[in-house]
Every structure is written in structure tokens, then in C-alpha cells.
């Protein structure tokens, strides 16, 4: 329905994106990321970050509680598996709806304040959900163990259609295609492409323009008689739905849900993904999510043995020194790398990788830097 308004440039971008995502297993093979488990994570966290970016990148509202929506999505999806069907489609639809409803509730309250107050409010709500999921809501969330499938789940729809999984623990399947490995990845990939398309449409729409106006000067909008809160709330709900969908997909590829997905460090992670890629840019969040998950995977797999091999070209004394220093940053200490990366990006490249790319290309073109470069990372603060 948008086909008549979509510009050629966007169409090309969408085509390239689609091709790159679908060819992901081949493209990412040389860097050792061409296996389905990791690719699924790329796609899922890509969706999560895309959604977060619609809120943070466009409206400038920094939410520190988005992990709550991810968690709600996961719980909803697992409950759908348990009660209705192992088919992923109802699961992700319900997860998206649950994410949307939950974010509508939280957004309605949180968006009454802005700036740091908004961040604290979202953080408070997320922590509240996390604490409740661990304690009182144990009948729903199964507390610390996490919500899991069992053989005796009712699965009403599957029973109605005469599907019987026998005496094994079922995995999610799309009309007989198991959502593990590559089929699982392609299911997520299709979702990612759809989400990317939607977010692109939002960016180019008058609504997206309005959200940018909210970011750059909310007061002026209010003075001109525009009520900004409904716009911000819509953006909040959309990003909550993205998060719910991502949570649902996490449950599709691996049917269990735990409260730790809602912890505020998880919210911090999606902020980092978005910032790393470039907040307010279309592609940035997906790239950021991919980069974080890739490095997490690579770095946390390192151990001293591998490091010894890497530094084996050094003399022995230096080798041990290099290993003992770098072992701080890998394996268990991967979070140290993450934190350091976080700081480096915010200090030197607040526009993220996309700003870096733009800067580089400007350097080569020898043109005066375009002031819209990198999706305007530095809006003038509203006074």
C-alpha cells in the first residue's frame, strides 16, 4: 500500500538489506559467524534494536526498561506454546500484542515526564517487573528456573488439529518445519526484513517527522499547539511491540523464558547496540546488534589456551604478559570489553558506527561535511 510513495533510494536500500540478510549465512561465514544459532541472535536482537531506535533515535526518549517488554514477549510466547500450539505464528502475534499492551501501560505513565525522569521511571517499571517475575508471579513465570515446556502441556490447538508430539519434548515448528537451525534463522530473518521495512516507512512518514520534531524541540511544538504526548506514546508502543516480537522469537528458537531477560543490564545492552550502530539511523541498530552479539560470541569463547596461541609469536615473557592482560577482556571478562566499548563509542563516536562511515566517506569525497550526516546525533538541546 506504500508502493507508490516509496523512493527509489529506499527501495534499493531495502533490496540490498533483504539480500544481505538472506545471504547472511554465506556472507558471515568467513568471519566465523555463519552458523544458525548466532545468526538467529543477530536477527532477533536486530529487531529489538530497530524497535528501540524508533523510540530513542527518533524521539530522544532514553528508556532504560525495554528489556521488560522483551521478557513479557518471551513469557507470552512460551505460554502460547504451552496452551495453544507449537506453531510459531500465534506465539509471535500474541507476544507482539503483549509487548504492545504492556508498553502502552508503562508508556502512558512514564511519558508524563521527560529527560532523566523518564529514564528513571522506565527503569523503575522494568525493575519492578523483574522483581515480581522472580517472586510473586512465580506461578506464571516459574521464578528462577524459568518457564519451560513440558510434555503434559495442553496445547489445545495442536490437539484440535490432531497433532501429537508423542513422548518427546516438542520444539516449535511452522507446519512441520522445525524452528531450529537454518529454518529458525530464516523465520527470524523474514521478521527482521518486515520490521526493517516498517521502520523505514515510519522514518519517511509525516509521523516520523513529527517524532524528530519531538526530539529537537518539544517546547516549540507545544507552543504551536501540537500535543506531543500521543506521538511519543505511539512511538513507545511501537518499540514495545518490536521488543515483544523479539522476545517471542527468542522463545521460538529456544522455548524457555527466564526473568533475567528483564534485568536492567539487558536494557542497557539494547541501548548500547543502538548507540554503537548509530541512534537515529535506519541501518545502525541492526549493525550494532550484530556487532555486539558477534563480539560477545567470539570473545566469551576465548580462553587462555587460545590466547597463548595468538600471542605465540612473542617472546615468552611478553607472551605471558600479553595473555594475562588480554585474558581480562575475554571469556568471563567479556563484559569488561563491553563496558570499555560503550565508553569509547560514547566519547569518540556518539553517532555510532554509521557516523564513522559517513565521516570516512566525507573524508574521501573531500566535501564539506553534510550536516545531516549520521542521523543528527547532536540535536541542539531544547531550551
Amino acid at each position: 500500500m506504500f508502493a507508490n510513495t516509496i523512493s527509489k533510494k529506499d527501495l534499493a536500500l531495502l533490496a540490498v538489506f533483504t539480500a544481505a540478510v538472506l545471504a547472511g549465512p554465506i556472507i558471515l561465514k568467513p568471519i566465523g559467524a555463519g552458523y544458525p544459532d548466532l545468526l538467529q541472535k543477530f536477527a532477533i536482537y536486530g529487531i529489538f534494536a530497530l524497535g528501540f531506535n524508533i523510540l530513542f533515535g527518533l524521539t530522544g526518549y532514553l528508556s532504560f526498561g525495554h528489556a521488560a517488554f522483551l521478557g513479557v514477549g518471551s513469557y507470552t510466547a512460551v505460554w502460547t506454546f504451552k496452551l495453544l500450539s507449537m506453531n510459531p505464528i500465534p506465539a509471535i502475534i500474541l507476544a507482539t500484542i503483549a509487548g504492545g499492551l504492556f508498553s502502552a501501560l508503562i508508556g502512558f505513565i512514564s511519558l508524563r515526564r521527560s529527560g532523566i525522569y523518564f529514564s528513571i521511571l522506565t527503569l523503575a517499571f522494568a525493575q519492578m517487573s523483574y522483581n515480581l517475575a522472580y517472586s510473586v508471579l512465580t506461578p506464571i513465570t516459574n521464578g528462577e528456573t524459568g518457564l519451560q515446556l513440558t510434555q503434559s502441556d495442553p496445547r489445545a490447538l495442536d490437539v484440535a488439529f490432531g497433532r501429537d508430539y508423542g513422548a518427546v519434548l516438542p520444539v516449535s515448528d511452522l507446519f512441520g518445519m522445525e524452528m531450529q537451525g537454518y529454518p529458525g534463522f530464516y523465520f527470524c530473518a523474514v521478521m527482521l526484513i518486515v520490521c526493517f521495512f516498517i521502520s523505514m516507512r515510519i522514518y519517511r512518514s509525516p509521523f516520523g517527522m513529527m517524532l524528530r520534531a519531538v526530539k529537537s524541540n518539544q517546547n516549540r511544538l507545544n507552543f504551536t499547539g501540537v500535543h506531543t504526548r500521543p506521538y511519543a506514546l505511539t512511538a513507545f508502543i511501537i518499540s514495545g511491540m518490536y521488543a515483544g516480537l523479539a522476545g517471542g522469537l527468542l522463545a521460538v528458537t529456544d522455548p524457555l523464558a527466564g526473568a533475567e531477560r528483564m534485568q536492567w543490564t539487558a536494557s542497557g545492552e539494547v541501548v548500547l547496540m543502538t548507540i554503537l550502530g548509530g541512534a537515529g539511523t535506519l541501518l545502525g541498530p541492526v549493525i550494532g546488534a550484530g556487532a555486539i552479539k558477534y563480539f560477545e560470541n567470539i570473545f566469551s569463547a576465548f580462553n587462555d589456551g587460545i590466547l597463548m596461541k595468538i600471542f605465540s609469536f612473542l617472546p615468552e615473557v611478553l607472551q605471558h604478559l600479553a595473555v594475562s592482560i588480554s585474558s581480562l577482556f575475554v571469556g568471563e571478562g567479556w563484559h569488561l570489553t563491553l563496558g570499555a566499548l560503550f565508553m569509547v563509542i560514547v566519547i569518540f563516536l556518539p553517532g555510532g558506527l554509521m557516523e564513522g562511515v559517513t565521516r570516512l566517506s566525507n573524508l574521501f569525497r573531500k566535501q564539506p561535511p553534510d550536516d545531516r550526516a549520521g542521523g543528527t546525533p547532536h540535536p541542539a538541546p531544547a531550551e
Binding site: I116, N131, L272, F342, M343
Partner: protein, 342 residues
């Protein structure tokens, strides 16, 4: 009545910790205009000062005693901490009082850490948006946390209080209740008194010294103070150091109550931010009042009678209050006009 008193007392020590951290956060925010997400990490570093001091004091000298043998026939190893070897009884006392002693160590260390942090990182962020300040200090907090984790491990390290304060105080007797009704761990009472002392010292410092006067003037109007020829940046650096010391001391003294581990800072940080917001961004008195208030309310919420009516309320009470306060009184309990309201 005595049950209520007991819950109030129970909340005071935690409230003291919240108040101290929130006080530091507010000072930093009021002077430098920076939202410091690494403040919880400073609290945690303070706690690990105590761990380090205890470990250093506890270094033992191993001597072989040939007159005694182990059941396996080898000479018995006698382990004795060096401080005891060197100082005798005084060494033993020193070891027993390792937590209070570490305060002496924590003050210079935390001051140094605070000043280095401000000069090395924070000062570049004065003019940047709050979102970026939050993010960079969040990153710093993770880095500090992980460094501590790699040095001290992931498990909590228990720190005993000095023997003298290890017992309970029958607090009720002093107030005329029956014995045994209001019994309270001595160290928690010490902690409460300590936090009140530190808070009073900070307020006195800001109120009655020339330095404090300049700082207060700088909080009100930084530019004018600069125009008067005062190097306000240098003063603010020291203020940041002081805030770090306050957070650090809160952590050091808290170790007997809660065994320190690497993520204790994060847990307290989230709550302290809520405290700051409830108290009112930029209001020192508000931060302190809200700290104690929330601590006490949290302790009431964890009473079994309350939990029976509202299950789970103890987990969420602080957040719930924050939500209500922000919606009803957007500036917090004692917030000033014009702070963070663009």
C-alpha cells in the same frame, strides 16, 4: 508500637546507605550538572577497600614448629598474622576492627579515585546531553565492576563487624518497652549513627566553610562565580572527590551488613537514583530525607503482616513510591524549580 519501632529501626541502616549515595549523586548533579551512573560503583569500591584492608592485615606469617607435629608426622605450621607478630595485642585489636580501620584507608583512596574520574572522564561531558552522560558513566560502571570481579571473584566476601558490635542491642529497654521486644543488631545502629554523622559533616562543610560557600554559589550560578575570579572548576573537582568519598565510606561501613560482591553497586545505584528523584533532583535535604524515608518504608513493606495482604510489595515498594511521587509531585518531595525541566 514496639513492632513499629523495630521496623523503623530496621529501615534506618539501609536508609542511611541510600541517603549517603543519594547525597553524593545530588552533590555531583547540583555542582557539575552530571548524571553519574558510576556512583554505585564508587559505593562498591568503598566496600572493597574494607575487603582489601582486611586481606592485607590478615597476611599471615607461617613458621614451622618442630616441637609439634601434625598427625601425618610433618612439623606443625603455625600461622599468625604479621600485625600480631609486630604489634602484639594491638595487632589483634587492629584485625578485629578492620572495617572501621579501613575508613582511614578508604578516604584518601576514594578521594583520589573521584578526582581522577572527574579529571579523566567526567569533565569532558559537562556540555554533552544527559543521555550521553548516563551512557558513558554506565559504561564506566561496568568497567569498574568487571575489574573488581576479575580481582576478587564473583562471590560475596563476608566482612565481620568488630566483636564488640557483633551482638544485639536490646533497644526497647532504653525506651521503656519490655525486654526482648525491640532487639537490634549493634552494627546497624552504628551504621545509622555513622551515616548521620557523615551527612552532618557534609552539610556543615557546605554551610560553614568558605570552600563550601563558594561551592554553593557555584551551584546557584556557575558563571558569575567564575567571573569573580574563582577557579570554580578546581573546586568542583574536589567536590566530586568528596562525593566519591561519601559513597565509598557508605560502602566501607556497610560491609558487615551485606557481604560485598562486585555487583552490589549496581543494585544500590538503581535504588539511589530512585531516591534522588523522589527527594527532588538537586535538593540535598530531599535526597537525605527520601533516603531514610524509603529505607523505612521498605522495611515496613517486608513485614510478614503486610506481605500477607499485598504479596510481593517488599520487592517493588520503592519503585512504586517513585512512580507515585513523580506523577503527583513531578519535582520530587523537595525539588527546586527549574532543575532538569527543559
Amino acid at each position: 508500637m514496639d513492632a513499629i519501632l523495630l521496623q523503623v529501626l530496621n529501615g534506618l541502616d539501609k536508609g542511611g546507605a541510600y541517603a549517603l549515595i543519594a547525597l553524593g549523586l545530588t552533590i555531583i548533579f547540583g555542582t557539575l550538572g552530571v548524571v553519574n551512573f558510576a556512583h554505585g560503583a564508587l559505593f562498591m569500591l568503598g566496600a572493597f577497600c574494607a575487603v582489601t584492608v582486611k586481606a592485607l592485615l590478615g597476611i599471615t606469617k607461617v613458621t614451622l614448629d618442630p616441637t609439634q607435629t601434625t598427625p601425618w608426622g610433618a612439623p606443625m605450621e603455625i600461622r599468625q598474622p604479621y600485625v600480631e607478630v609486630w604489634f602484639g595485642d594491638f595487632g589483634t585489636t587492629l584485625l578485629d576492627y578492620s572495617v572501621p580501620v579501613s575508613i582511614l584507608v578508604a578516604i584518601p583512596i576514594m578521594l583520589l579515585i573521584g578526582i581522577v574520574m572527574e579529571r579523566g572522564l567526567i569533565r569532558f561531558f559537562y556540555k554533552r546531553p544527559h543521555a550521553e552522560q548516563i551512557l558513558v558513566t554506565f559504561g564506566l560502571a561496568i568497567v569498574i565492576q568487571e575489574i573488581v570481579k576479575s580481582n576478587f571473584g564473583a562471590n560475596p566476601i563476608p566482612q565481620p563487624a568488630p566483636d564488640m558490635f557483633n551482638g544485639m542491642i536490646d533497644f526497647g529497654v532504653a525506651l521503656g518497652f519490655d525486654a526482648g521486644n525491640v532487639v537490634y543488631p549493634a552494627w546497624r545502629l552504628i551504621y545509622f549513627l555513622f551515616s548521620v554523622g557523615v551527612i552532618a559533616a557534609v552539610f556543615a562543610f557546605l554551610q560553614f566553610t568558605t570552600f563550601g560557600m563558594v561551592v554553593r554559589a557555584g551551584m546557584a550560578d556557575r558563571e558569575t562565580v567564575g567571573l569573580l575570579g574563582i577557579d570554580i572548576d578546581r573546586r568542583f573537582t574536589i567536590v566530586f572527590g568528596i562525593a566519591a568519598v561519601v559513597a565509598g565510606l557508605a560502602g566501607t561501613m556497610y560491609t558487615p551488613i551485606l557481604s560485598p560482591d562486585y555487583h552490589m553497586g549496581m543494585d544500590f545505584l538503581v535504588l539511589s537514583f530512585v531516591v534522588v528523584v523522589v527527594g527532588g533532583m538537586g535538593s540535598l535535604g530531599g535526597a537525605v530525607a527520601a533516603g531514610f524515608l524509603l529505607g523505612v518504608l521498605q522495611s515496613f513493606a517486608s513485614m510478614n503482616e503486610v506481605k500477607a495482604i499485598l504479596p510481593g510489595i517488599d520487592q517493588i515498594i520503592i519503585y512504586l513510591i517513585a512512580v507515585v511521587v513523580l506523577l503527583v509531585r513531578p519535582r520530587g518531595l523537595m525539588g527546586r524549580r527549574g532543575v532538569m525541566e527543559q
